[in-house]
């Protein structure tokens, strides 16, 4: 999934960003100095199909209290409809607190996310070639009105994800539509005037068993099952969009308070008395109430969190202004949590215009990484880190290789040498790119890029634009886009598999393949990896990542991205959720 704010901007302000499954967390620095804060090593996702409710108690947890979450610069979800949710903010909140799905993540003691069952009793049973998955729905899960969640309702909820007209920005458009059998011909319950989903036979219900037939092998169905779009919806008109999105029926430990959802402003959740801890392997119900405040001012939130007054003691902030990092780092200790967001920032030289690999590598050496991060308002080594390849750290199969033997860093002399090797030594090689003029940070970062590139033997024409650069990069008919030979994408994984990173960025014809990279052999290899035995796939993606980077170097990974979360002094168990790049809402409590 893309990160909305391009290039070097503050991650907290990114909207509509779906990130990350299988990530890490922080091993927090020591409380007094706090300067040697590091991100914990990550091992990719693990699974535990046997996990049953209730979830183990968090040490020292207490019930009661209200937790306030400030989300600076983040407008929050436009709708709470589980089927339409595909953003870091909305999914992290709803999946942890209100909306259950087939599977879910639990955070283990080392901070690693573990895929565990949710509404299903296990992680699903695929057939031999992953073209059919069967999930058995548990019987003891209930809605907030006390009625049991039935297999029919889950099947109907899954069927809703096939309606790409009713939910144009939902994740179903990418996964259900691609993988489910016959999905391309089915318009969905609302667009297709089939309110009970009777005309689609890809999903069948037998007793408590739901069977989903696949068009092509889909070994990652259990990960896809952790999206709230793969959860239940009340049958028929009760869940008709768009009204259902204002007050969806909850089945998790919390429900939306009456009138508690004000888009772009606030979301208030209260305890759902009908939720039974025994039915849920990973969620808790410690706090009495949750208040999410959207669109907050970063500077204001920083002041609140650093003041440690009675308001901020039970509050959580989902980002920290870079100007306050030092104060926060020394003052907050383990209450400042650094979390990988499983995202990579890239520059994408146009593969058809910049044909020589030497030139693309020269660009990588001419990019002043740390200077761009600093002037873009990031903290080098904290919110941004050097990247060696496309797959983010912590992804299964990720290899720790270096394209040129060591990490590519800013080295204008090396860049000039490479340019000379490619035969462009005599005059500057022209680069045309865009930057987002409205944001002074983007302008300052662009100044640094221009400076670095020019030192490295390039000449830069930076075109200021006033709309999101994605609108330019993704529009093939845009007149500015036609001039560019350098673009960029920030990409986050949907779950810890190379299949959510490499094909979307580098397969010929993919929407976000802004480099226009298209090599038949690589495309074939991507297709063939999906047919490999499941246990070999991760390594195969890692090998492919290395092969692409060393043989073609089609895009320049400029940074791996991390988020910073701030927790109040009375918030227990301050941790991040490695699966999605958000605070670990499932396990937080108020210390009494």
């Amino acid at each position: 999934m893309k990160r909305n704010k391009p290039l070097a901007l503050v991650a907290g302000a990114a909207l509509l960003t779906l990130a990350a499954c299988g990530g890490g967390s922080s091993e927090n620095g020591d409380g007094d100095g706090g300067t040697d804060r590091e991100i914990g090593a990550q091992e990719g996702g693990t699974k535990d199909a046997e996990r049953q409710g209730p979830a183990p108690e968090v040490e020292g947890a207490a019930a009661g209290g209200t937790i306030t979450v400030y989300l600076p610069g983040d407008p929050g979800p436009d709708s709470l409809d589980p089927t339409g949710g595909w953003s870091v903010t909305g999914n992290s909140i709803q999946q942890a607190l209100t909306s259950r799905s087939l599977t879910q993540y639990s955070r283990d003691e080392e901070g690693q996310p573990v895929l565990v069952p949710d509404l299903a009793t296990d992680l699903g049973t695929p057939n031999e070639d992953f073209t059919e998955w069967t999930f058995t729905i548990r019987e003891d899960a209930t809605w907030e009105d006390g009625k049991p969640v039935t297999a029919e309702e889950v099947a109907f909820g899954i069927c809703r994800s096939l309606d790409s007209e009713a939910f144009p920005s939902g994740p179903g458009t990418e996964y259900s539509k691609t993988y489910f059998a016959g999905a391309a011909d089915y318009e969905g319950p609302y667009t297709g005037k089939d309110p009970n989903c009777e005309n689609y036979d890809g999903i069948t219900v037998e007793g408590q068993d739901i069977t989903i037939a696949m068009e092509t092998p889909f070994p990652d169905m259990d990960y896809w099952g952790s999206f709230m779009a793969m959860g239940p919806a009340p049958l028929g008109n009760a869940s008709k969009p768009p009204n259902y999105g204002n007050q969806p029926l909850s089945n998790g430990p919390y429900k939306i308070a009456p009138g508690g959802y004000k888009p772009n402003e606030e979301l208030r959740l209260v305890k759902n008395e009908q939720w039974a801890a025994e039915s849920d392997p990973a969620r808790h119900q410690y706090a009495d109430e949750w208040v999410f405040k959207f669109n907050q001012d970063q500077a204001k939130v920083d002041e609140i969190m650093l003041s440690d007054n009675s308001d901020s003691q039970t509050a959580v902030a989902t980002s920290l202004g870079s100007g306050n990092y030092n104060d926060a780092n020394s003052q907050l200790g383990e209450r400042l949590v650094q979390q990988t967001s499983q995202c990579v920032s890239t520059l994408t030289p146009d593969y058809n215009k910049i044909k020589e690999i030497e030139v693309r590598k020269a660009l990588a050496y001419a990019y002043p990484y740390e200077d761009v991060w600093i002037s873009g308002g990031e903290v080098p080594g904290v919110t941004r880190d050097y990247a060696n390849s496309i797959m983010p750290p912590g992804m299964a199969g990720k290899k720790d290789f270096q394209v040129d033997g060591e990490q590519i860093k800013y080295d204008p002399e090396k860049s000039k040498e490479l340019l000379a090797e490619a035969g462009y030594g005599d005059k500057p090689y022209e680069i045309t790119m865009v930057y987002y003029e409205v944001d002074p940070l983007a302008k300052d970062a662009q100044d640094q890029i221009t400076k670095g590139f020019e030192a490295g033997g390039f000449s830069v024409k930076a075109i200021p634009v006033q709309e999101s650069p994605y609108n330019i990069w993704l529009d093939p008919d845009n007149k500015v886009n036609k001039q560019l030979n350098m673009r960029g994408v920030n990409w986050c994984s949907d779950w810890p598999a190379g299949s959510t990173m490499l094909p979307p960025l580098l397969k010929g014809g993919a929407v976000y393949n802004t480099a226009g990279f298209d090599e038949a052999s690589i495309n074939d290899e991507m297709d063939s990896i999906a047919t490999l035995p499941l246990e070999d796939q991760a390594a195969a993606w890692g090998d492919l990542d290395e092969k692409i980077m060393t043989e073609y170097f089609p895009i320049i990974p400029t940074a791996f991205r991390n988020d910073l979360f701030v927790f109040g002094t009375k918030i227990g168990n301050p941790t991040g959720d490695g699966s999605i790049g958000a605070p670990n809402y499932k396990d937080l409590f108020v210390m009494q």
Binding site: G323, P380, P464
Partner: protein, 344 residues
């Protein structure tokens, strides 16, 4: 014998008017030779506030005109440095100690320090910001006054249909909300010109156009009112009777009599435009390349920087405030000096 109560003696002591003198004395001859403008200048020179303000304005003009020379003298420039050479990314992106305040001692390499986050030299940006500010404001003020004066003259003197049409245009432009129009224009201009090589110049040029398009109406109305009263005066009637062409009446007879209102409107338009330029740049719809006081204020106006590095915000702030204030006071003083009826 009783003295006249309002005799020359008592009057002389109560007013600034020169005491009646023998018309043949040395002093009287000197006074008689002065033009109204020279009298006004003499009054201005006696006004202490005006003199101080004029000096301040002169200082800013020198800074603006010689921005390049002064920068070279101090060895500073607008060039973008590599950020990591000058600022500490792990210390809230504040300048490194060897770059001067807030973490180090004053250094002649960067007399006004460097900007946090980017490491750009504050002095160079301040000087060139002053140049941008004054260039845009002066050009816009001159254009707006010329348009205003011409429209006011024509509309007041010709009257009838011409007056109706021109007055309609004045009213129409007054109804357009300035900020809204500027906000709308910015993306349109960007869309049209963003691939041009001289985008920065086009941006400044369009800013001048926007400021003058929305700045001429006040002058036009003022001049029109003046002309309405002047055109019925005897000397104009006489000129007409003598068969002078209209253009000659307008520019030779009327214009010299309008010198005072014109100078006043220009002198009050200047500070308004300086403030507007900074305001627009702050909103990100004027100059966007960073070389502007408004953009400097935008960068500096965060609680963290203001707490740790207040000079960074004060520098452009003081620039804008001092320039606008002194231009305003100077404008007031000029008006007082040109108006023979004022008593202070």
């Amino acid at each position: 014998m009783s003295a006249d109560t309002a005799g020359p003696e008592t009057l002389g002591s109560l007013s600034n008017e020169p005491a009646p003198q023998d018309p043949n004395s040395e002093q009287a001859k000197e006074i008689a030779g002065k033009s109204p403008l020279r009298i006004a200048l003499g009054r201005l020179a006696r006004d202490k506030v005006a003199v101080v303000c004029a000096l301040v304005v002169l200082f800013f003009i020198i800074c603006a005109v010689f921005a390049g020379t002064i920068s070279n003298l101090f060895g500073v420039s607008l060039d973008t440095p590599l950020a990591s050479e000058r600022v500490d990314g792990l210390n809230n992106n504040l300048p490194k100690p060897e770059m001067g305040p807030p973490n180090g001692p004053f250094t002649w390499d960067h007399p006004m320090g460097v900007a946090p986050r980017t490491g750009q030299d504050n002095m160079a940006y301040w000087l060139y910001g002053c140049r941008v500010s004054l260039t845009i404001a002066t050009t816009a003020a001159i254009i707006a006054s010329i348009v205003g004066v011409v429209v006011g003259l024509l509309s007041g003197f010709l009257g009838g249909k011409v007056d109706k049409v021109l007055s309609f245009f004045i009213d129409m432009f007054l109804t357009i909300p300035f900020l809204l129009a500027a906000l709308t224009l910015a993306p349109i201009l960007n869309e049209r010109f963003n691939t041009a090589d001289n985008y920065a110049t086009i941006q400044k040029f369009s800013l001048v156009v926007v400021l003058s398009v929305f700045g001429w109406m006040g002058t036009a109305r003022l001049i029109r009112g003046e002309v309405l009263s002047l055109r019925e005066r005897e000397f104009v009637q006489a000129a007409r009777v003598m068969g002078m062409p209209t253009s000659r009446i307008l520019f030779k007879e009327l214009l010299p009599n309008l010198a005072a209102p014109i100078i006043i409107s220009v002198s009050l338009m200047l500070p308004a435009f300086v403030a507007l330029e900074a305001g627009l740049a702050f909103l990100g719809i004027g100059v966007t390349d960073g070389v502007s006081w408004g953009q400097m204020i935008l960068d500096a106006a965060t609680p963290v920087y203001f707490r740790d590095y207040p000079q960074y915000l004060w520098q452009p702030m003081i620039g804008v405030v001092a320039l606008v204030l002194s231009l305003n006071l100077l404008g007031d003083a000029i008006r007082d000096a040109l108006d023979p009826k004022t008593r202070r």
